[in-house]
């Protein structure tokens, strides 16, 4: 069948709630994730991680386990093929943890020292547990604290500058009518996507094929080609369905170990991490120790903003949790200093985790703003309105759009903020003290180069091909909507093919950049396709395909401050007898660019806010000084919010299309967590009269801090 090429005007698919394209597969169990795909002759690899925090592997006693039933191989530093780690990938130089079995040095507890491969997973697991590894152990230091003498200022990188300074902070603080000087800490936090990291590698007709769970198959395929010194075209990575990532699913030991074993054994090998292994081999969020000093004049206008944060990294790779950067966007002051410092310890390398930098940074800064509001007697929203910058406080660049005040006003109206009595400790319901709090949020809106192809098929449908990843964001559906809208057709007529490195280079799902980057490429390809279709004529059997590459257009983008913004509101109840804090309701109003699919965007923003509840009240990985490992590294020892922890959480948005983006998108993946923990902490103060500056706000901390409640409460 052939169709003529005329296509109608836009349908308005964009901005209309739409259920997920793959929804039926997800609710019936038909969706296959990386560890779900059967392959003939599949062997199973089990990682063995170091049990010491620093030292050298003296020997790996593999003979005994090689004699166990089903065991096919034990790979370790003395027999593993050599690989290459000397390259720069999409996120910089590789973390040496992915260079598995290349050296005897053990830089932290949980470092991969061997891979046991067997016919059956049970056999591989038992053999891995039986494998004796001898170490020459050395003393380790895993203890992070504020003011660690080893802390240093890192070099600037493409991800940010370590330090920004303008004006004289000390002089402005001295001249301020109100000063806040407070220290805040956030603990080590872990991504814990529900799907463990899993990769299945096999060689097929001279090509390395990897069925993987990742946030970007271009990212992973490009690095695997580098690591194994292969032609980029001879590596194919696919990730049809991904069970969450949150920053942890880039190149990890799973893909490298699976590819290495598949090469050695010349048969398919699957490597799946255990939940416990995920606590040391996939990255995490560094703990932070932050000090914020704010000085304001009598009207609440900031004279000084000083935000200093410290984080940790491993001894083998530098990753900086850029907590201090959030103030470079949110508030201006004549004296403005922000710096991130880092200390190297005998721990795994941290990495990007949802809202990297902004999530912990906003906790400190937005709590400090609340403390300033208390001291100055100015309403927290009004204080922020008075400190709205016209341009980037440090960059001096204009904002592409900045609707933070609109978010706060809309949030205030819907939350009922106007009726709030600012005095703390006044509201009581039986054993519960009640309070409300708010905080502002921002997260950088970025975009990465991508390619796409859109085909007008002879049967009247359209096929979009782009190497996007859907890690739960609803990307597959969003891309279909963007294409349908640009094509002016019903989304039912658009098929999306994605998550396959053979489709050509594209941005990964991360940094709130995925949908914006892919939508740009898709809309560009559709524009080209429409021009060709406008020429008229029949569509040939193979269809008409237009391709795009956004590299040039993105390179030409005007320099501006581009961010999503938001206002977070929380109501909490604090049980003064048990120390338990319950969030009763949350509302987040966001200015996050054009919303492609309200159904999935709302879900994602709410999910971010729930991460904020977790961060405020639950999440905390405890490292044991003696062993260098974690206490209880699993989902019982590391609690994140369960259903019963989550009350009514609402997210909504104000109109805020980015004027320079072809679709108007900014990004919704991360801004939802930013400020959420601060809003809750500020509400806890409002309830109890006591500031909690250390996360999580555990019952023991609430009990030992007590309350600062007026003795003669109204009506008491």
């Amino acid at each position: 069948m052939t169709t003529t090429t005329g296509i109608p005007a836009a349908t308005g698919a964009l901005g209309t709630a739409r259920t997920r394209v793959e929804g039926r597969d997800k609710v019936t169990g038909a969706a296959r994730y990386a560890g779900d795909i059967p392959l003939p002759e599949l062997a199973h690899g089990w990682l063995v991680l170091s049990t010491v925090a620093r030292g050298r592997v003296r020997s790996v006693e593999s003979d005994a386990v090689l004699a166990m039933p089903g065991v096919l191989a034990v790979l370790h530093h003395q027999n593993a093929p050599r690989i290459n780690l000397d390259y720069v990938g999409m996120v910089g130089r590789p973390d040496p943890v992915i260079g598995v079995f290349q050296q005897d040095r053990v830089p932290f507890r949980g470092w991969p020292v061997a891979l046991v491969v067997a016919e059956r997973p049970e056999q591989a697991r038992e053999a891995a547990e039986q494998l004796v590894v001898h170490y020459d152990q050395e003393p380790h230091d895993v203890t992070f604290y504020a003011g660690h003498p080893g802390a240093y200022t890192p070099e600037d990188s493409p991800f940010g500058r370590a330090e920004e300074t303008k004006g004289d902070v000390e002089a402005e603080l001295a001249a301020s009518a109100f000063v806040v000087d407070a220290e805040y800490t956030t603990p080590e936090e872990h991504h814990n996507p529900m799907e463990p990291h899993a990769a299945t590698a096999h060689w097929d007709d001279g090509r390395l094929e990897v069925l993987d769970s990742n946030q970007g198959s271009t990212w992973v395929a490009t690095e695997l080609a580098q690591i194994f010194s292969l032609d980029p075209g001879s590596v194919r990575v696919r990730s049809e369905h991904v069970g969450g990532g949150f920053g942890s699913k880039g190149v990890r030991p799973t893909q490298v170990a699976a590819a290495m074993a598949a090469t050695v054994l010349q048969r398919p090998v699957r490597v799946v991490m255990t939940r416990r292994q995920m606590f040391s081999a996939i990255g995490y969020r560094s703990p932070t120790a932050q000090r914020v000093r704010l000085g304001a004049d009598a009207s609440g206008k900031l004279r000084a903003l000083d935000h200093r944060s410290e984080c940790l990294t491993s001894t083998v790779h530098e990753f900086i949790e850029r907590s201090a950067s959030v103030g470079r966007v949110l508030y201006d002051a004549p004296a403005h200093h922000t710096s991130d410092r880092v200390v190297r310890l005998d721990v795994p390398t941290p990495t990007f985790m949802r809202g990297p930098g902004e999530a912990p940074g906003s906790f400190a800064l937005e709590c400090a703003l609340d403390e300033l509001a208390e001291k100055s007697g100015i309403d927290p929203i009004e204080l922020r309105v008075r400190n709205e910058p016209d341009r980037g406080p440090i960059s001096g660049l204009p904002f592409s759009s900045r609707n933070l005040v609109a978010c706060m006003e809309e949030g205030s109206r819907r939350f009922g903020w106007a009726d709030r009595d600012p005095r703390p400790g006044l509201r009581r319901e039986g054993r519960w003290l009640l309070g409300t709090g708010m905080a502002a949020a921002s997260f950088h809106s970025g975009v990465g180069p991508s390619t796409a192809a859109v085909t007008a098929e002879a049967n009247g449908t359209f096929t979009v091909r782009i190497n996007a990843a859907d890690i739960g964001t609803g990307a597959r559906t969003a891309i279909a909507l963007v294409a349908a809208d640009a094509l002016g057709v019903d989304p039912e007529r658009v098929r999306v093919v994605m998550a396959d490195s053979d489709l050509g280079p594209a941005m990964f799902a991360g940094g709130s950049m995925g949908t914006r980057s892919w939508a740009w490429a898709v809309s560009m390809a559709v524009g080209e396709l429409r021009e060709r279709l406008a020429l008229g004529g029949d569509i040939p059997p193979e269809g008409i395909t237009a391709r795009s590459d956004t590299s040039e257009a993105i390179g030409a983008l005007a320099q501006k401050e581009r961010h999503s913004f938001g206002a977070q509101f929380a109501e909490v109840a604090v049980d003064v007898t048990s120390g338990e804090v319950r969030v009763r309701r949350m509302l987040g109003i966001f200015a996050a660019g054009r919303i492609v699919n309200p159904l999935t965007a709302r879900n994602q923003l709410v999910g971010g806010m729930i991460w904020g509840i977790s961060m405020a009240l639950h999440e905390e990985a405890i490292r044991d000084r003696a062993s260098g490992g974690h206490v209880g590294p699993d989902l019982a020892g590391y609690h994140f919010a369960a259903n019963a922890d989550v009350p009514l959480v609402e997210a909504d948005w104000v109109d805020d299309p980015d004027p320079d983006d072809p679709v108007g998108i900014k990004g919704v993946g991360e801004v939802g967590i930013v400020g959420a923990a601060a809003a809750i902490a500020n509400a806890v103060w409002h309830a109890t009269g006591v500031r909690h500056r250390h996360l999580p706000i555990r019952p023991d901390r609430v009990l030992s801090a007590g309350t600062n409640v007026p003795e003669h409460r109204p009506g008491a």
Binding site: K26, D36, E122, R275, N603, G607
Partner: protein, 188 residues
């Protein structure tokens, strides 16, 4: 490749979604691994493999159970229902339909477990089982209303890291309403 019968393995017959499957299994094999690796029923997910996340929830004789803590050999003779057995052919179960319509998921990895738990929650509630937040637990009080608070409590064995809890609660509530409506139709 499954091992032949030996002192460490057995041939067992499992009844899954109404169908009998005879297979040799290593005695260490969990029901979860038997489903996934031996029977290619990969809808049941492995999130933690130690009973802490609920992703592997199935129904055993109609009651929910985490299949990672159940040995396959111990599941012989019991009726196992997995996510693959929930829909009626192409017709989604109302719980599945509600999860789809209300976006009760994001990445979808915990979803099969959530749905199996939700099915059991509706049964448990209908049978008058109380939860930790049920205020009136007298047997004669009958089922308390399935409020959002009750649903949150009863669904808390299933973790969702994406944080789709708000829409999960809505989906379970909608399925509960549909069930009540259906039952009323039957009575009428």
């Amino acid at each position: 490749m499954a091992p032949a019968p030996s002192p460490t393995s057995s041939v067992i017959t499992l009844t899954i979604n109404g169908e009998k499957h005879t297979l040799p299994v290593d005695h260490r094999t969990t029901l979860l691994d038997a489903l996934r690796d031996h029977l290619d029923l990969t809808g049941t997910k492995k999130g933690c493999d130690q009973g802490q996340c609920g992703a592997c929830t199935v129904l055993l004789d109609g009651r929910r159970a985490v299949s990672c803590l159940q040995l396959a050999v111990a599941a012989e003779g019991r009726e196992v229902t997995t996510i693959e057995g929930v829909a009626d052919g192409d017709r989604l179960h109302p719980v599945q339909q509600a999860f789809l319509d209300l976006d009760g998921y994001q990445c979808g990895y915990c979803t099969p477990g959530q749905i199996c738990s939700a099915l059991a929650v509706l049964e448990e509630h209908a049978e008058g089982w109380p939860s930790a937040v049920t205020t009136d637990v007298r047997p004669e009080a009958g089922p308390a209303p399935l409020t959002p608070e009750e649903i949150r409590e009863r669904m808390s064995g299933n973790l969702c890291r994406c944080g789709a809890y708000v829409s999960i609660v809505q989906a379970v509530a909608r399925a509960a309403e549909a069930r009540t409506d259906r039952n009323e139709e039957v009575v009428a």
